[in-house]
Symmetry: C2
Subunit: 453 residues, 2 copies
């Protein structure tokens, strides 16, 4: 077969975007009449050393996926032509819809290991087939929101902008990263379609190529300012950062006479804090005390903390690769596991991968000052003190009520981060956040082991 | 604005999938009549410690993007409504097409730092606007092909299957990873749409949930075998790996009587090599000497090398997260840089990010036994001994000749990997592969520095 793009549209919109074994299992389930109610939960198995907490994200896209999930006629034609499945099975796929319930924590909620991000309750074939794409959506957005939250905590009061589309892993990763980082506290993104798609504010300056294409840096600055008089942020490190700042200071009065203010400059290479100090002095001496300094280039939360400690005169940061690939932790150890089938709790006992059975709830307790004190992981219906985090989000295949707008989820996330224990808020080492497993959940696990042992 | 998905279709198909600054620069270029011919090159700046070489990938998708690149009416409506740009600029965008030339190395070619993967020669506004998505496509596929090639070299003769869609960063990442890993030597993928889209063979077994949903493991195995009689690979680690193998051995005669052969088993947890030895003995004792053992779960090229050294009786591997996120190196330090404008070579001199100016060519030399000896990076037109790697791929916005089919690119990649120096083929530390910068390129850099100095 030729390597041509024979299928168009967003690959994520089709149920064919799955692992082959989901289809073979679906076939076997239907052949053997295994259509009882299944309960799956998606959770992170363990927190990496550099992640003291998670921020749940992607629920809206997960729900949109479940509401719209179907096979297209082209998908079914291809499956039929592949010869892998009988015609009666493919005919059943044509009518396949998700009709189940979803419980989940709201987007922007802080979570820890073993705590479900989402629970799917549906006929086994439906709940099974949703696995791959649900993980694909929820894992990635949770990964990025968890990384972005660290940056937001490391740079309070600074303007953080996502610059990472180019090195994100494909188009959808770039867009979802723009959304998840805004949810977790970024001010916006450079990725244009994140505005029409998600309502994320977009920001932009200029590139080195703009400066290089001109015969002189001065001319490049002047051209840019005349074309974009409302947002003059000049990139000054193409040849020599301080020399670039001097040129800005010399150009500013001329622009001012034309009614064009210089809003600021961007640095993108070298020792950013050291350059920022020198540049600040040059700009101030040139009467540009109100201009801002924006920095980019290889920045992560460690760099942000260091800039904060040294009180570097930088007003905002453009952050790319480390954000949109979550480069220190590019994946979580997470799973979407069968916890109950046909009324019977289930548990996987594979070495190092054992899971807690049954439908679960998380209760969170707070200190008097509002700071999170600890969670209890228990079975649904077990009443514990504190706030229940997992809530009904879909019933019978349709969403329950309106989903929060992204700005509301963003405000919820900010409130959550403010309630983290101090060492987690400061990204410092310390005791892991306490997540207690309730006696009722221990008892259920013992019961399941006896039954399948 | 609400967080609704107001725009449908594949985000990667629209020119709006870019950084905002590309549009602001475009506006400034057009306002100031800067439409001269620009030459940009895309290359990896330096190789990470765990990457002795790169495998170029993604050229087909890059060319398809350039051929189809345009703004949709919805994109233009949104841009107009955003108030960021004047109407005459937006009108010009409606007719925007890529009309330039592309030179590139064929997909599957081995490359090193500073060597261009692609060169774009086009009017400055066009070449500039293509930057973000071109990097987004070429960086990711090259990242994954380079990772997959290490795995292919670490496990000669083994069946390697991509299992990584769920933890890939979004839908497109999963699909592109399936393609890039097949290109670099994988046998196939579990990701279904990679077959209709790219012609990649698809593979699949069963999940733990399938076993868990049944009242007994034996019944799960039998149901699966009866539904999928042509490809019975049974997952045996849900509860106890060796006990699972014993069940397979007991079930096999019954299935054989029904005409259903047991092809093999899959292990997914614990010490895979140790389990594989015990399982091999159990299967052999049960008369299943022809069955295969397939392993998955946290495997990377280091694990593959270790399995090879200990001669673990494993026939194939399913590899997920480490492949599709390139988890040890989730991004390359790469750049798409302006090398020439309006006939004048250009160069960026930012600290630690200086680039070689001008249009470049790479010549590769081989030893008598066919092994790569070293490359020369030089200016286009400079004749050096050896094979010229960079070739014309598009002229005037249209591809030149047919692109190789994916299977051809895969064969080219296999031939390339076979010609790597021995220590790179064995993934061992050793001297970096020699890439010499020709005197003519040094001279050009000096000339550019004098002119912009």
């Amino acid at each position: 077969m030729a390597d041509a793009t024979r299928v168009s549209g967003n690959p994520g919109d089709s149920l064919l975007l799955t692992d082959l074994y989901q289809l073979t299992m679906l076939h076997a389930y239907l052949e053997h009449g295994m259509t009882g109610t299944a309960v799956f939960e998606f959770f992170v198995r363990r927190l990496p050393e550099r992640r003291g907490f998670l921020v749940a994200a992607g629920l809206r896209q997960a729900i949109e996926f479940l509401e719209q999930a179907r096979f297209t006629p082209e998908d079914l034609d291809w499956l039929a032509a592949s010869g892998r499945f009988p015609k009666d099975f493919i005919d059943r796929l044509a009518d396949f819809r998700f009709t189940g319930d979803v419980h989940a924590v709201p987007e922007g909620t802080v979570l820890f290991a073993d705590e479900p991000i989402i629970r799917v309750t549906a006929p086994l074939p439906e709940a099974q087939l949703m696995e791959t794409r649900l993980i694909n959506i929820l894992h990635f957005q949770t990964l990025i929101a968890s990384k972005a939250a660290r940056m937001a905590l490391a740079a309070p009061g600074k303007l953080l902008i996502d610059f990472g589309l180019r090195r994100a892993h494909g188009a959808e990763a770039g867009l979802m990263a723009a959304r998840a980082s805004y949810l977790a506290g970024f001010a916006g993104t450079a990725t244009v379609p994140a505005a029409p798609r998600y309502g994320v504010p977009v920001y932009g300056t200029m590139a080195h190529s703009f400066v290089q294409a001109h015969d002189s840096e001065e001319l490049a600055f002047e051209h840019f300012a005349r074309s974009r008089p409302d947002s003059v942020i000049l990139l000054i490190d193409t040849y020599d950062t301080e020399a670039g700042a001097e040129k800005v200071a010399r150009l500013a009065p001329k622009l001012k006479a034309l009614g064009i203010p210089v809003h600021g400059v961007r640095l993108d290479s070298g020792d950013l804090a050291a350059h920022a100090r020198k540049v600040r002095a040059i700009l101030d001496a040139g009467g540009l005390q109100d201009s801002t300094i924006f920095a980019s280039g290889g920045i992560d939360e460690d760099a942000l903390l260091e800039f904060g400690r040294s009180d570097a005169p930088i007003n905002g940061y453009g952050i790319g690769t480390s954000l949109t690939t979550s480069s220190d932790v590019p994946a979580f150890d997470c799973a979407y596991k069968l916890q109950e089938y046909a009324g019977r709790p289930k548990r996987k006992r594979s070495e190092g991968k054992a899971t807690w059975p049954g439908r679960k709830q998380v209760f969170r307790r707070y200190n008097a000052d509002g700071v999170m004190r600890g969670d209890v992981l228990t079975v649904e219906g077990d009443r514990q003190g504190g706030e229940a985090l997992i809530r009904l989000a879909m019933r019978g295949g349709a969403r329950v009520g309106a989903l929060p707008a992204l700005v509301q989820a963003r405000a919820h996330c900010a409130a959550e981060l403010a309630r983290l224990p101090a060492h987690l808020r400061r990204l410092e080492a310390g005791p892991p956040y306490p997540v207690e497993v309730a006696p009722s959940l221990h008892a259920l696990a013992d019961q399941v082991d006896r039954e399948t042992g």
